[in-house]
Amino acid sequence: MQEISVTSKKQPRHPLDDLIRTDRIPHIWCPGCGIGTVFSSCLAALKESGIDLKKTVMVSGIGCSGRAAGYVKLDSFHTTHGRAIPFATGLKLANPELNIVVFSGDGDLFAIGGNHFIHAARRNMDMTVICVNNLNYGMTGGQVAATTPYMAKSTTTPAGNPETPFNLPLMAYASGATYVARWTMLHTRDLTDSITEALCKKGFSFIEVLSPCPVNYGRRNKQKPLDMLKLYQEKAIIKNHADPSKLDIDFEKGIILGKFIDLDRPTFIEHYDKIYRPSRLQENVSGLNS
């Protein structure tokens, strides 16, 4: 057993500290929340990937997950609810040298921001989108989301959700994403590898990460803080290249995880340069300022 001693000795630095705004800690996330784990996987992947971090930007929308942009020590933008992707689109088009990571919640990316998601995927806008799917609107106190399971309880579906949730990987694939994966926050190694791969890959990459919100979702659905993690462990079926149309989340039959899509097609900027700015291709120009 390790001894825990409270002394004034300086705490050892965490290996990810240089990517964290330590002056903003403590963070706002509740005990038992999964977002922090997804966030640290993302930071580990940023390191692992070897991409130029000075040229890497994190963009978030609004929500508990969206607070990630406030803790990462990179250029980071905490925008409006649902608008991280179009904001990121502007950053990327104005300076194609930037590596873009969008880190946000399921409500942000797929309800209020759903339209932007499908169009950025269709354009194959070069960015990595990480969605923390906690099955509800955590920040506002646990309302129904576009990802809430059928019949699950939320403050706005007190007798159960009458709606059908999205199959997010299918939507990403159908919209044109060139990299699509799903993991849970429990599968940190796979998740980190997957984010690393997505960061190094050109084009629109999407990673859905299932993550518990014990405070607002778990509590209303008879799940103790550890129950969701148990489900992730017991019900996970890793099936790379699974058919995207068969990826509906079913907590009884099983949750299919893995990398489903990994293909190549030209990005928006590649098409745009070819058609509209051929001289730029020859000269290999980067930003719009030159």
């Binding site: 705004r21 002056d23 903003r24 000075k54 040229k55 930007v57 963009v59 942009a69 406030g70 020590k73 990179l74 250029d75 980071s76 933008f77 905490h78 925008t79 409006t80 649902g82 608008r83 992707i85 179009p86 904001f87 990121a88 689109t89 502007g90 950053l91 990327k92 088009l93 104005a94 300076n95 040298e97 930037l98 339209n115 932007h116 169009h119 928006f268 745009y272 509209y276 700015r277 001289s279 730029r280 120009v285 930003g287 719009l288 300022n289 030159s290």
Partner: protein, 382 residues
């Protein structure tokens, strides 16, 4: 094919096209838009012109996305713009507020049409003037300018960019369908005669830099993403570092910064123009296309022996309060002329403070105000 950004020469051009050319001359290199009558021609011109100057055009999926992309592009260090009309302007409001809060330079053009709702898509109005002032939630200062001709929209678009860069905020060009679709002579001067302003850039140590610590004129220098500053930019109330702080003190300090940088530089920002104003007893206050109607009415009134003059507002917001107050002390009355049912009229009324009578020649939208209507008012009211 590369072409110059400044197309020096003499043209017969619509206001919309002149606006796009003004933007390019000002250094705009990104346009994120969404088609809407009567502003579409600005997007179309930018779509063909921007790649010629190494810029980028994108038609977004809606105006919410267009405004978000413009802010993102501006934070990548590029002068950016969008153009829309009423319904799209409504959709842009939340992100205009993000631009205000994060002090992001950009230009938003509203080629106004009759409203509310879908209204009169192809017919002009000036009825979004209060939306320009207060359309996004919260209390803030904004800059809005109103051109009266295609030639003027060319120059004022450059002015709009310069003000947005200098004061770090979205600047609104509040034009209308009539100016946007009207063709007139537009002279584009030589590039070297065009003065452009770019946002102040930070100096000194990057790790100590505070993105919202104001400089001498109340405006903070602004780096771009990717320059090594590890910026954090949020629409939450934030301190000088850009970090969210949820306290009354932080709110007070941030609000002071974003409002005072405008309030303390009114002389630099506000522009008005006048016609026969020096000896005028009755002052017409007007702007945009209605200022042209008003000018004709002043000329006609003078022939009838009525001592009318025109105060043309080039800057609408911040409102030229002092000028109206001074006039209220020496003239017999005001007439506001605008294509709405009394928006700037109320501002004139407020600033005149009950000292003299004030009348409105308004119109619900869809057409110009005829000068005869203004002359009739001048004859009957005074």
């Amino acid at each position: 094919m590369m072409k110059p950004a400044v197309l020096t020469g003499e043209y017969f051009m619509t206001g919309d096209v002149a606006c796009a050319e003004g933007a390019l001359a000002a250094g705009c290199r990104f346009f994120g838009g969404y088609p809407i009558t009567p502003a579409t021609e600005i997007a179309e011109r930018m779509a063909s012109r921007l790649p010629q100057v190494e810029g980028c055009f994108i038609q977004m999926e809606d105006e919410i996305g267009a405004m978000a992309a413009v802010l993102g592009s501006s934070w990548a260090g590029v002068k950016s713009m969008t153009a829309t009309s009423g319904p799209g302007f409504s959709l842009m409001m939340e992100n205009i507020g993000l631009g205000i809060c994060t002090e992001t330079p950009c230009v938003v053009v509203n080629v106004q049409r009759g409203g509310p709702s879908t209204g009169l898509p192809t017919q002009g109005a000036q009825s979004d003037m209060m939306q320009a002032r207060w359309g996004s939630h919260g209390h803030y200062e904004i800059i809005a300018i109103a051109p009266s001709s295609p030639q003027e929209i060319f120059y004022l678009t450059i002015t709009a960019f310069n003000l947005s860069e200098k004061y770090r905020l979205p600047v609104l060009i509040m034009t209308d369908e009539i100016i946007g679709h009207m063709s007139e002579k537009v002279i584009i001067p030589e590039a070297k005669l065009i003065k452009t302003v770019s946002r102040p850039k930070p100096k000194g140590r990057k790790d100590r830099f505070k993105p919202f610590a104001p400089g001498p004129n109340g405006v903070a220098p602004m780096p771009a993403a990717g320059e090594g500053y590890n910026l954090h930019i949020t629409g939450l109330t934030h301190d000088e570092k850009g970090y969210p702080v949820m306290t009354v003190e932080a709110q007070t300090e941030m609000m002071a910064r974003i409002t005072e940088k405008i309030q303390k530089n009114l002389d630099d920002i506000i522009r008005t123009d006048s016609y026969l104003l020096d000896d005028a007893e009755i002052v017409i206050v007007s702007y945009g296309v209605s200022a042209r109607t008003s000018m004709a009415a002043v000329a006609e009134a003078r022939k009838l022996g009525i001592k009318a003059g025109l105060l043309r507002l080039v800057t609408i917001w911040p409102f030229p309060e002092d000028q109206i107050r001074e006039l209220a002390d020496r003239v017999k009355g005001f007439v506001t002329v605008e294509i709405n049912l009394g928006q700037i009229h109320r501002e004139v009324e407020r600033c005149a403070g009950g000292k003299v009578p004030i009348f409105l020649v308004g119109h619900p939208g869809g057409t110009l105000i005829h000068p005869d209507k203004v002359v009739k008012m001048l004859k009957e009211a005074f």
